[in-house]
Symmetry: C2
């Protein structure tokens, strides 16, 4: 089955907005066994949109567009597609009512222009928009297709804003696809997520062992991001679950200690869940990462059960005053040192009365480096009740964003290993 995604929006090509739809939709579909064949971004011009849709309908079973359904002057998808396929727009009273009450509930004045969103091409199915005003639209369209059977392809138009599009995909689009295009064979997919090991090394260690399973139809993929490598196992057929299980067991026997979770897990989720299970608590003391570690932990729903709080001690003065770091330690070793990272972790744990505390102190750059401690140097500390504190030194000579991300990953991994090693 061929599925093509068309993201419309000149602001995407001008680089004014990040295209998060591609990843989000791609993942949702792939997890259900439907894999995007290609994705294209085109500007908000009638010619570009119509041309892209026409070409895609000539190849694919399902074409999904995003964007261009709103009320402003560059939102032209609905109108142009309706004209192109000769499906006149008709006012839908249920949508008019939804839009009107949407504005009324928010006590905002309703510009007349927003009612354009209640127009529906003749014969189109409507996907309700609970979080906004423009509904999604699905149309079955005759097409001359060279490489596919007789069935007509579907064109589905989704609104651009992620918080409107995402619930719509989950509530309406996925069930629609599963009904219109049932999978011919069972499909399963499992991702093992690792950190602390490079992509080449992962591949070197695994590829030969997994080849026999791949020859039996297991699809294996590696995907690297800052400090992490995902290993994706999936495939179709009645025995695929056993093949995936066999592959997982082979992988865990080779690189098990680097694997922190599966599928949608994140290191922070694995840490928060484990803390909840152990009824333990955590605090953080951050310097150069400025709250990014706390942000990661608190991005997990339920974090309030285990995260007591944190101390962003950017200045040396606050390191002393709030965390009780000794001025002698700061003077002798400098703020970026093993000794200070340990005193920060100990101080944060005592102050918050948490079971564990992580600390981070480093030089994010671009300024502040020295010969001994160049930009990118960072010390991570961990203090746990009843244990000797530990600290590790890392070096991430990259831009500020990458530095922060790599450092926070490692801090989370430090506590994760402790939580899973301890009984």
């Amino acid at each position: 089955m061929q599925i093509e995604l068309i993201n419309t929006g000149s602001e995407l090509l001008l680089g004014r907005v990040l295209n998060t739809h591609q990843q989000w939709i791609g993942k949702k579909l792939a997890d259900a066994g439907y894999i995007l064949s290609s994705q294209v971004t085109v500007p908000d011009t009638a010619e570009s949109i119509c041309d892209a849709v026409q070409k895609a309908l000539g190849r694919a079973d399902l074409v999904i567009t995003t964007g261009g359904l709103g009320p402003t002057s560059d939102d032209i998808t609905r109108e142009k597609i309706s004209a192109q396929f000769n499906k006149p727009l008709q006012k839908n009273e249920a949508i008019v009512e939804h839009i009107t009450s949407f504005f009324a509930q928010r006590k905002r004045p309703m510009p007349e222009s927003v009612l354009v969103q209640a127009l529906v091409p003749e014969g189109a199915l409507v996907f309700q928009n609970k979080y906004g005003t423009a509904p999604g639209l699905a149309m079955s369209i005759p097409s001359e297709r060279s490489n596919i059977g007789n069935s007509q392809p579907w064109l589905v138009m989704l609104p651009g804003p992620p918080r409107e599009l995402r619930p719509m995909v989950e509530t309406y689009l996925l069930p629609f696809i599963q009904q219109q295009f049932p999978l011919k064979e069972e499909f399963h997919c499992r991702t093992l997520r690792s950190t602390g090991i490079g992509e080449s090394m992962v591949e070197d260690l695994l590829l030969e062992n997994l080849r026999p399973l791949m020859e039996q139809g297991l699809d294996l993929g590696f995907c690297a991001r800052t400090g992490q490598v995902d290993i994706r196992l999936c495939g179709y057929g009645p025995e695929i679950l056993q093949k995936i299980a066999k592959a997982e067991s082979l992988i865990r026997s080779e690189i098990g200690k680097y694997i922190y979770g599966t599928d949608d897990d994140s290191i922070e989720k694995s840490v928060v869940d484990r803390l909840i299970a152990k009824a333990q608590t955590i605090a953080v003391a951050e310097s150069c990462t400025g709250g990014f570690l706390g942000h990661h932990i608190t991005s997990i729903p339920g974090a309030s059960k285990v995260f007591l709080g944190g101390f962003l001690t950017y200045s040396n003065k606050l390191k002393e005053k709030v965390l009780g770091v000794e001025s002698g330690t700061l003077g002798k070793y400098g703020a970026v040192s093993k000794e200070v990272s340990i005193e920060m972790a100990e101080g944060a744990r005592l102050k918050s009365e948490a079971d564990h505390a992580l600390s981070i102190t480093g030089i994010a750059g671009p300024e502040g480096g020295t010969e001994d401690k160049p930009v990118g140097t960072v010390w991570l500390g961990l203090s746990s009740i009843g244990r000797k504190p530990i600290a590790i030194r890392k070096f991430h000579p990259y831009d500020r964003g990458t530095f922060k991300q790599a450092t926070v990953n490692q801090a989370l991994e430090l506590i994760r290993r402790r939580l899973f090693q301890d009984k």
Copy 2:
């Protein structure tokens, strides 16, 4: 001039990675007057990559590919393109040396497989990779092009990892484009960035006033993201700078108070720069955002001059112990209240001895809401030395990520307005 971007990588279509290249490259090119005509993502198969490149070369003057140049088995772009255009791969000794010393410097063992990255198609230009091992490659390729003149299009292949690709675009690709495809007319672009006003409202207020300038060739674009709207003014020609200036002045007279900056400014950058200029300092007290506000402020290089630190007081106990919030206030009004937000801001300012302190306390959800204070409710406080503290209530009934982003934007905007209103 037609420029097409081809992002290769099955992990993009499977939704395992976010395509940040599209935005980053699109913006860099557009800021220099070169606008992407389209972007496409294709899987890592020889057929898909070669087919996409061939089609793009038939339409465009410049085709840029990303990814597929690394050492692992799914990195096939270099090899397949070299075969497709009959440009045999030749070992480049300078690159061999670069790769060897890259591993030696990092004291990492060098797998033999990485030397495949030293192979260069015959006649290709090499863009050095200072931050990784795979160089970029540029090739001029004969093509049957229907709609363009006689010159041969260029194909440029860039490596996938952002920290390798980005410096390469700035150092090599942009100068290369400017030399190969000089702009025929002067080009300028200016973006005004606003917050606190919706996209429809911005358009309603501006469109009619700006129409005469648009008829004279000024290109106007709006772009909305969480809580923000960008207004982009650009165009070509000898008088474009005057037209942009005239438009900017019209816009500022209509919605000036919502405009926090221009071009690459962010609210946090505008806050940090203003604090530096005023030689003032800031601290934060965060509950539900868990460090996301501190992260935003410290993402700006130079933040250490003005950001003293922060207090992530997730638990009520820490709110009392660290910030001095009265237990009576917590008992009477609850943690999510005007009173507590003010005591948090005051406490953070006094404790850190900063000139200003921002506080955030709210209910990010999905749990913890009540009838009076549903999920999404948040109070923001601001305390400045010698001023009466203020607090505002906001409501963001969205997912946790959107809640955090919208809340942090508003906290930053709260201090920005104070910094720019005060003399």
